[in-house]
């Protein structure tokens, strides 16, 4: 069934179709509609779940962890300050191998208060052991929630499904809402082999000496390394059943491109428009949208840029004292594999400043005019 829905509701429908059993969440702009719709779904019993109306995001995540450990499928959603408040528990989720799925609406961190999009909230959590999926359409948001449950539960690693504030969260798009029966076929119930139950008493997460801790983390990484292949496999299965592939990256006219613009999130669609316009002007540009940031898809990125002469990475985030974070990661993936291919790092759109096709044209022009980047960070659109 096709519906015109906002990105936030795409998250809610994803959680509903995924048959989340315990939901605990706390409102924050621009996420509120996610939990409002889920509350309604729980109230009218169209979703058979317990909704714990907690007093903070911190408690939201804590409740999800308890429920997940008891063997229930859990979902929450947040944004910016709420995600930061959860930080300690994000480690608890991955370290405890609890496959919680969470929606995060990318919103800039205060101060000054901002409710508009940038990626510093979720990227600040990159080392917490969560998988991170950056979506570029409402359809992709809904589909990815369902896929995330499947991948997370197989690997016992939590997932964050991420969408831009307003550009996706509050924008209405046509979304195909899959049939529940088919989703059930795709996504079997969560049934962990070990869980918290008096039938078989275990102690989870207790004092762990240097004799054991190291291996637990090694195993987490080893499972994380299986994720790229599993995401592609489950993405293909999804395509077979629902007609939409869910992969690690999305390529647009990359194959013969001289210049590849690397983006993430909703600006991917803007980049595609810019690429098409640039092509008309005779500039062989392409767009590589990185969807999965953790685990980082090294292989596929190395292969995607093979024929290119230059790379421009566009970040809507910053690691202060360093670079944009996608730029860092792309460079590290290419190091030793790309024969000195110049990689330019651009930062733009912080705090929700618009990113338009002309932003990408400016980026393209800068890149074409230089052999190599001269600056560590190339700022686009700063008004001083």
């Amino acid at each position: 069934m096709k519906k015109v829905i906002m990105g936030n509701h795409a998250l809610s429908y994803g959680a509903k179709l995924g048959r989340a059993q315990v939901i605990a969440a706390y409102p924050i702009t621009p996420q509120t509609q996610v939990v409002e719709l889920l509350s309604e779904m729980c109230a009218d019993k169209s979703l058979d779940a317990m909704f714990i109306k907690v007093e903070s995001e911190h408690s939201a995540m804590a409740a999800c962890l308890g429920a997940s450990l008891a063997g229930a499928r859990t979902f929450t959603a947040t944004s910016a300050q709420g995600l930061a408040l959860m930080h300690e528990l994000l480690h608890w989720a991955s370290g405890g191998r609890l496959p919680v799925v969470m929606g995060n609406i990318n919103r800039a961190m205060a101060p000054g208060w901002s409710i508009w999009s940038d990626q510093n909230d979720s990227l600040s959590q990159r080392d917490t052991g969560w998988m991170q999926f950056y979506c570029s359409s409402n359809q992709e948001v809904l589909d990815t929630v369902i896929q995330a449950f499947k991948v997370s539960e197989k690997l016992l690693i939590p997932s964050m499904v991420i969408l831009d504030a307003f550009t996706l969260s509050h924008t209405y798009e046509v979304v195909d809402i899959p049939d529940q029966k088919k989703v059930d076929e795709y996504l079997p119930p969560f049934n962990p082999s070990i869980k918290l139950t008096p039938e078989e008493p275990h102690a989870f997460g207790g004092l762990t000496s240097p004799e054991h801790y190291f291996e637990l983390r090694y195993k987490l990484q080893k499972e994380m390394e299986k994720a790229p292949a599993l995401i592609e496999k489950t993405g293909k299965e999804y395509e077979k059943m629902f007609g939409r592939y869910l992969g690690l990256v999305e390529k647009h006219r990359c194959d013969d491109a001289d210049l590849i613009l690397i983006t993430s999130g909703a600006m991917g669609s803007t980049a595609r428009i810019a690429v098409d316009e640039l092509r008309k002007e005779g500039i062989k540009a392409g767009n590589l949208r990185i969807k999965v940031f953790r685990p980082f898809p090294f292989e596929i990125i190395r292969n995607a840029v093979k024929g290119a002469k230059k790379i421009a990475v566009v970040d809507r985030n910053i690691s202060y004292g360093h670079h944009g974070m996608f730029f860092e990661e792309v460079k590290s993936a290419l190091y030793g594999y790309s024969d000195g291919l110049p990689v330019f790092g651009f930062i733009t759109g912080l705090g929700g400043r618009d990113i338009t096709p002309s932003t990408f044209k400016e980026i393209t022009q800068y890149t074409l005019e230089r052999d190599k980047p001269k600056e560590e960070i190339i700022w686009i659109g700063v008004k001083l």
């Binding site: 059993q21 315990v22 605990a24 779940a49 317990m50 714990i52 109306k53 907690v54 007093e55 903070s56 911190h58 408690s59 804590a62 409740a63 999800c64 962890l65 308890g66 429920a67 997940s68 450990l69 008891a70 063997g71 229930a72 859990t74 300690e88 528990l89 608890w92 869980k195 918290l196 139950t197 008096p198 078989e200 008493p201 275990h202 102690a203 989870f204 997460g205 207790g206 004092l207 762990t208 000496s209 054991h212």
Partner: protein, 300 residues
Amino acid sequence: MKKEKKMKLSLPEVELMNSGHMACQGCGATLAMRFALKALGQKVALCIPACCWSVIDGPFPYSSLDVPIFHCAFETAAVSASGVKAGLEMVGDKETTVVAWAGDGGTFDIGIQALSGVAERNDDIIYICYDNEAYMNTGIQRSSATPYGAWTTTTPVKHFKNRPKKDMEAIMAAHRIPYIATASIGYPEDLVKKVKKAKEIKGTKFLHIFAPCPPGWKSQPEDTIKLARMAVQNAIFPLYEIEWGEKYTLNIKLKEKKPINDYLKIQGRFRHLTKKEIVFIQEEVDKKWERLLLCVNGSK
């Protein structure tokens, strides 16, 4: 034929706590757990945040308890339990009693927000705070449960704790939850009775168990039970229940309320106190006792 005389135990025989745990000698917190589990039985799940008990249970892969444990983040005991309860219900287990088991720091201080949320929603869990009146896990720092006058490593003798112990029961009573009780390892029958009672009630139950700690209180391990009983007898830690935030019941009545001197004297943490300060503490204890009696009598 002669009738065989059977010894009657005043506590349930079941033993869900084993030897091999990591507690200090004379640890009150350990006794609290042993007695509580006797009352709770096997169909229970514990959420234990950072505290002495996250060590006492034993290091991975060992556990000294025969019940499942979720070792959770310091400030999350109450809501972790809510999450576990919801999760268990959704996977078809409606029987298991879920218990948050936290220290005074995890309850009075860092965990109070999550606890208040759980109590306001009246989530169906038992919250048990074992109170050793300081952060013992991290080496005896003051908490808001540390009593007036006590030494800790962050309230050194020259600057001892100069604020009263937080009245946690009053805070919980303000949430109008079905059941609140204080208990003591010095009165195990009363403790077991209260835990059993809590188990039968739906909603949020809050139990506060007094649990002396020899290294933290600078007391002798063999005085642990004595101290726990003295604190009840001198009304420093009276044993009572509050139902729905209104109905107060005193469980151990005092024929003769003892002075606090002897209690303070056998604990190194109070050694620095002058006569004047002891008189002040006595006055405060008396006032608090009178206030409690007013509530109890008002409930009749």
